[in-house]
Symmetry: D3
Subunit: 313 residues, 6 copies
């Protein structure tokens, strides 16, 4: 079936979508309408449903799967769907919600296997036990393997966080022969745990939102808390030098404090410096690719880089 | 007895000091000498001891109390003591190490009483219990009531941290009638705990140095860890909204993240904004006063403000 | 009568408003309409009046009181009124323009009494006389007691400036016992006069606009000019140290020069530093409250802090 | 004939325009329309053409001259033309494309004469030969004498770049008696060549767009390349000190590197410092004038200065 | 007679100097010495006088003229004079203090004539009268024609401020034909008065120091006060548009407020923008020249530009 | 033979050194001395030679090999050699200048082989030919394989630049499987050529100094010029897209323009972004290691990171 990313202006489009946002509005003339964000496997699109009926008001809501018939228009340089017909999907449609979610390129299961193999590479009993303990929690494991890395900037799709972690593990491993004086275990643990706080900062992989703790504490410190809880459970002393070094790498992974990107300390270990830049490479290359995919223009605006970049699509 | 802060250039000065730093050097001509930092109740002075003897090398070291006879000179615009005679203090001198340490204006005991009274003002059972639990630890209590607030910038003397906290408690309390919509308990708890991580970041109130965790984690996150440990012990849920709000106030107390002063999140609660500026007032007024005291010039350089300020001495 | 701040989307709303802005537009189809900003005691709302008649064009204008019947809609995430019927208020409506203006929480008269009492607390004959002289001018007094503190950021309502000043006076007074070395008279005078230049920078408390001098000179230096004029009238020497210190506090009250917020000098007196942060507390807490009041969402965007803050409404 | 800059809201306007941008859109109701940017000698205006016909779709395109009959409306504070009738110009209209382009105040021919005379003032054989060689290229000469200095900021009209250069030459020459120690030849050469790379960065003076090299290399380095090519052709050594000094002035003409405006080196010669500020004067005064011309309000927003400025119109 | 700027390391130097700074020190061995700054027409040099006698202590002081016999040494990359003999000058030496002061290139009298002629060019009665009134004050006139433009950065020599002003007047006048829409009178008045506040900010042209008002108010606002006083005396209304525009140009002459260089408002008039950059040119070219003159190295550090610049000496 | 990096304070040290800097000074008492910087394979040390003889003045100069007998002292926290005896090396000493230069860990020959192999990996005929052409120049090849990457920051030793390039080639190659959409040839070419301009910016690998072009043009643009010259020679069109992309990667390799580190354009291709961060990793890890090696303290100041880092020595 055709995907929304491929639709072009002026075309009639029929397809299934997951409702990601829904705002119930009143028009100037008093009539009611819906402002919607709809998603399928290829991406998202905003949509308008004019003159909503009582039946639509009661049946359509966020996280419902809907079948839509509409026309693709352009509004402020972005595609928008003018809905002519819409209904909630029924069992006979045989549409699985999973088939409507944008996901990482590699399957979540494969990524998870990769991650597990990397954990077994860790030779430090302390760091190995720490990570195993954190992943004992089904809730954390579930979140870690389904959430995007963020709402918008990079890896912003189902299991994007896991894909980001696994890519970083591969990158770091490839560079270990070049920088043999790096503490490999420390780098591997940082790759796996640097964003672990996102499992508390964001809720719901399908329609991710910031939690109360996410807004007030932020994923960096939420990650430190998860690490501390696991250390306690695993019987690792809070003064253990490997543990402190790992926390340092997590706390400094947004770069120098005075850049103002939210690191709590500036990197003072080579592993912290090394990881920060690897993370930047993966985040920015992924963001650039996401920008390409959504456009067919020669020069595409990248929200992460805040400038136009060359399309490589 | 005359204090070193009062000594003037060219004068002969005899007095007792605590040795705060000692560097054993070799001169160009091969002779050995000591580069010292000496302190008494009024402040510190650098000193030179030329041609050190074997006896001096074995007897004089950091944290020893010494009796010194020397001449006050000026080196790069700062007073320096050229030592003619020096010996380690003996019991007959009846010199107490406490009498050689710069301290807060109010006694540590009174400050501690003030702090205890303020704790009893807290009506939230959660926050009250949390603070009581933290202060159950003799080690934390000891550190909190003896450490300076920092090595140099402000309240950099014995019990300076405690004085800073108690002053903030008084300030906040005075302003509560003006801003009645503030959550008083939250502000009080923030005053008491905002720098609690310094009890792990700095070691030894007499000759304070950064610890390993201090350098790699920093006092803001070390404070969050102390709060979390106490919450666990006191049976407070990690998702408790008062606890999260308190942690938010601690994490944001260095101002907006993008200023690059090390906050992990920017303030999103009125208590966080309120506290940040109160803290600035107390830190900066204290720093200015410390700069005045050390000088008799009309315009004094303030290292904290990074400019000359008007002397009010 | 119901206030516009309480109105919700989709609801029909009838009420009286002050016309704060009016733009006469032509639609694509050639018909004429009004783009309006209407205000009542609870706040402001934008409104559209389609197909205006000749009668409406001649009767409705800025600062008129109108009776409106319309529907509340949402346009770009903000409430907007779609006007069905509108007419200019008549005497029989018994609607007082004062009842349609958002005002400080405390009455202008009470605030004025508070301010007068504080003036009498000043013991310095110089500063006391200076302030009395400034307030001798009916024009200045009128402006000082009716203007908002600004067009948008904080205390942006009738007599908001006066409320801001009186709150600062209360705050400062409460903190004097904590910081006894501050020159109280100097702080009190700064509280009263720091924004006195706004009486020349802004015109018309109902629909405040920047004046020619306001744009080209700015309220900080306009304030210095008012102070100088009064000093001349009161026979105070321009080299008087108290006068110079007061001007320093006014000139530095936007913080350090290199922050780029418009201070002409960086604070070099403790009173200047102290006042700057007190001013920040009052401005930001007030701005946060204004943002809460205008919203029922859990997280509200604060234009002054430039981020989402937690609603405390 | 009336020009579009003089048109006011609500008025019917008939005139000839050059089509500068054309977007073919689909409306929510499925009908097709054009979003246009039209220009005449006095400036540009956006326009809407609803319900486009097949004939219009095939005849109207970018760079066509059209005759339009429409109504002036206001959309988001800017004038917009609602087109009632439109057709492509025919020979009988006797409308020259040159008459529809905004141009420098002085004719391109006169500016070119001025430039040529200034070149003859250069006494350094090296710099004289270098410039002559660059201008031997018909392509460069053509671009240099027709392009705007930029797409939006300043001198953004036909031959604007040439006007900018000639003005700078006059300015510099006037100041030489004041700063006699400046190397005149070096300054003159810098005036002429500082933006020479724009002849490669921008394509098409009528509808200027960034080229591939423009985006990826930028006009500063493209200018260096043109200079180097000419030096090679003219037999000037790449280590010639005058040549290196000229390249330094070009590379530093956006101000100090750490300001982040794209200079490749910070100015280390008086000529570089001198030229940078002269360039700022000319760019900013021109930008301010362009902002005045487009508005009849007392205070006009200047995109270059990023603030409101006083109208001098 | 040889000047100190020409002296080279290792050479014996005999000459007359003005004592600009004198610090009375005690050496580690208890002996007393002087740390001096001596100046002649060509510049300044630091000097050491070891083992000062009682006679020297009583006779030598700041602002005295002395005859010195010493050896030129290098200390931390700067020339220093090791004094072998020194005495206070006597009438028979026939050394005039004026001959020992570094001065502007053109004589103070000629500069003053130039300034007076420019004042007569002003056609606005308001601005003409204003400037005449300011210069009626003998004290202001004296200061304006003798002070340096600053203690260190640029034009830091006797009558340097006047030279700076006159150069700016010539520059501006030369550019008027290029920018005919500028208000000439406004620019001329700004050239003359932009730094007029320095006559209150700095005291004593021979050994300039910041005054109390200079530190707390700064020269920009001190200048505004002088202008206001004169306007009052000359009967010019404080709301006069020319007066307000002039004050705007003075208040914004340090560039945009958010750059943090101390402007009280950002430029909103073309004259303000124009003047700011002209001022930058003159200040920086002069500073560069001062750096050249003091050195014979190929690359010289410029304190104003904060980088090495090419020597043009 | 013992190396200077291992010497400790107070020890007598005899060894051979290369003279890297020599300043001939006069002491306050008129005697002459040398301020020297001496280097051996392990690093550099400053040294003092008091009371130099005529024979020493004529025989000792920069780039000479000398035999020294002296005592290790500490001056301002750095080791310094007080020279008792010194003489120029003679053939019988059998000391090779190469044995006194700090070099890369891997031999220059091996690095060169690695580089040559990588060049053969390039499949693009354009980029392959371009690099071969550049390296045809013996002068460039010589400079590229002997120079440090810089005077101080990172890889600041003999052949440091080549080591840096080869390390980057290995890093990039290792990451290609992770980021398969990158243009490998473009990245390889960027690794090899990003700092090629340093072969013109720095002169003399033994005592590197900035050249005239280095100061005025900088290595980024000097590199572009070398690339352009080679392209011309190799018959590659200046509009060739691969060539333009390569130049883009070189021009943007210091990061975003607005960071102010001297990039001429901000990265708009994934290869540019990727390379910038790889370069950061290699530069910073090398700089950290250089800081460790020079110190035995637990926390070492890193000039590149501008903070203390943890010693890993």
């Amino acid at each position: 079936m055709k995907q929304i990313a491929e639709a072009i202006e002026g075309e009639r489009f029929i397809g299934f979508f997951l409702v990601k946002e829904l705002n119930h509005r009143t028009a100037t003339n008093g009539s009611e309408y819906f402002d919607l964000t709809l998603g399928d496997r290829s991406g998202i699109i905003t949509a308008k449903l004019w003159d909503v009926t009582e039946e639509q008001k009661s049946s359509i809501s966020v996280k419902k799967v809907v079948k839509v018939d509409g026309t693709v228009t352009i509004y402020r340089n972005q595609k928008q769907l003018a809905i002519q017909r819409i209904r909630v999907a029924i069992p006979e449609d045989e549409v699985d919600i999973q088939s409507l979610i944008q996901t990482a390129d590699v399957s979540r299961e494969e990524l998870w296997q990769d991650l597990r193999m990397m954990i077994e590479e860790i030779q430090s009993p302390t760091l190995h036990k720490l990570i195993k303990t954190i992943l004992l929690s089904k809730e954390t494991r579930e979140a870690l393997t389904t959430l995007p890395a963020g709402k918008k900037m990079h890896h912003s799709y189902y299991a994007g966080l896991l894909e980001h972690i696994v890519t970083l593990l591969h990158s770091a491993t490839q560079l270990f022969p070049i920088y043999p004086h790096l503490n490999k275990d420390l780098v591997i643990a940082t790759c796996i745990l640097h964003d672990i706080g996102k499992t508390k900062e964001l809720a719901d992989p399908l329609v991710p939102e910031y939690t109360f703790e996410g807004e007030l504490i932020g994923h960096i410190v939420l990650g430190i808390e998860l690490v501390n809880d696991a250390a306690l459970e695993a019987g690792i002393s809070s003064r253990d030098e490997e543990l402190v070094a790992l926390k340092h790498c997590i706390l400094s992974h947004h770069g120098d404090v005075d850049l103002g990107y939210g690191s709590a300390v500036s990197g003072k270990l080579p592993e912290a410096i090394f990881f920060h830049y690897l993370d930047q490479i993966d985040a920015k290359l992924n963001a650039m690719k996401q920008s390409y995919t959504a456009s067919s223009e020669e020069w595409v605006y990248s929200p992460m880089l805040k400038r136009k970049i060359r399309n490589r699509n």
